[in-house]
């Protein structure tokens, strides 16, 4: 139920069995079925979700009802509307499950309490947020300055396992292309080989 969570935690910050037990009390185990929402736009995001099993995505919906995928969450990753979580403003993202999933949720109140009482959790949080910041900067740079083809190849290189698991139109959405453009690029790349 928490195996992967603590495996990843220990990679970032090694903890003792007692500390693990202490942290465990603050965690919320939660199962989500495919297509169910973890969060809908307009609600305040009250948790950070760690994916033990399954796959989720975070996306916004524009005025043409097009879904724009912001982030995927696969095993070992965290997913959330961090902006909403930290500011307590209504979320602008929706988060739903692409597959039946098992999550470990950290609620805002549990998060605050652990930051106060468990120094290693604070370190863990710092490393997580640093990682999220780096990923975001990289993503912005790619979107601003890369060609469509570069964006796709970047994605495949960085996340080969996602490419195998989610439908092409979602990958297109994530890298900011129409499904048609992505399909053309894929054809071009495979014929070029």
């Amino acid at each position: 139920m928490y195996e992967l969570f603590f495996e990843e935690f220990n990679k970032k910050v090694p903890i003792t069995a007692e500390e693990q037990e202490q942290i465990k009390h603050y965690l919320t185990p939660k199962k989500l079925r495919r297509k169910q929402y973890l969060l809908q736009e307009g609600d305040v995001c009250k948790f950070i979700a760690f994916v033990e099993k399954g796959a989720l995505r975070a996306y916004s919906v524009d005025e043409n009802f097009t879904e724009n995928i912001i982030q995927f969450g696969l095993e070992g990753w965290t997913i959330s509307d961090l902006y909403s979580f930290l500011t307590e403003e209504p979320a602008v993202y929706n988060i739903d499950a692409l597959e039946d999933s098992e999550l470990v949720l950290i609620s805002k109140s549990a998060h605050e309490e652990m930051l106060q009482t468990i120094p290693k959790y604070e370190t863990y949080t710092r490393l997580n947020i640093t990682g999220a910041y780096l990923a975001m900067q990289r993503r912005i740079t790619t979107i601003i300055s890369s060609t469509a083809e570069e964006r796709y190849q970047d994605f495949i290189n960085l996340y080969p396992h996602i490419a195998q698991r989610v439908p092409q139109h979602m990958i297109a959405s994530y890298i900011g292309l129409t499904p048609e453009t992505l399909s053309r690029i894929r054809k071009k790349l495979s014929s070029g080989k």
Binding site: L27, Q36, S109
Partner: protein, 185 residues
């Protein structure tokens, strides 16, 4: 709240369980119903769907799985059964709101000295324990329902739930008697 919350009701085919299931099915909730006999629970599901076709309600055989999926858990079982249920669901209800409808007086045996909330909290230490009971001292309409517990956020969540069910929520003062001496309605 816009995001649909999942509520698991344990003991859904009992008289309280049936009533709660049908009144909550009006709200923006997904209901998972459990009980000792799946066929009995399925009857409740069918009845709820018969009156509200759009209701998202389902009978589940495995109480553990149902509570693992849940955001909120309602224990509609007698006070004396709380321990048995708690033992079965303990590992999947951490940090969740757990509501007891138990009225120990009614159930006669083993009345606790400390009250239902304290008892539930002792059984499930890392949950947000809340007790919901009808206020026997008023005939007000809609009916008043007393909500007792220690966690502010949980009390808010349960108040919303009680309003959805068509009752008037009244949050008990912290430290007010939540004891077995409360008369039954």
């Amino acid at each position: 709240m816009i995001t649909k919350q999942t509520i698991t009701i344990v003991g859904a085919s009992g008289s309280m369980g049936t009533a709660i299931s049908s009144s909550l099915s009006r709200g923006n909730y997904r209901l998972l119903l459990c009980g000792s006999e799946l066929a009995e629970v399925q009857k409740v599901v069918d009845a709820v769907k018969y009156s509200i076709a759009a209701a998202e309600v389902e009978a589940l055989d495995c109480t553990l799985d149902a509570c693992w999926e849940a955001d909120i858990i309602v224990l509609a079982v007698p006070f004396a059964e709380m321990q048995e249920v708690a033992d079965r669901i303990r590992e999947v209800v951490n940090q969740k709101v757990v509501i007891s409808l138990a009225n120990p007086l009614d159930d006669a045996t083993d009345t606790p000295a400390t009250g239902v909330v304290a008892e539930l909290q002792k059984l499930l230490p890392y949950t947000k324990a809340v007790r919901v009971s009808a206020n026997p001292f008023t005939d007000a309409k809609p009916k008043e329902v007393i909500i007792a517990g220690d966690d502010e956020e949980a009390l808010e969540t349960v108040s919303e739930l009680v309003s959805t069910a068509g009752f008037r929520p009244v949050v008990a003062d912290a430290g007010a008697p939540d004891t077995a001496s409360e008369p039954e309605v």
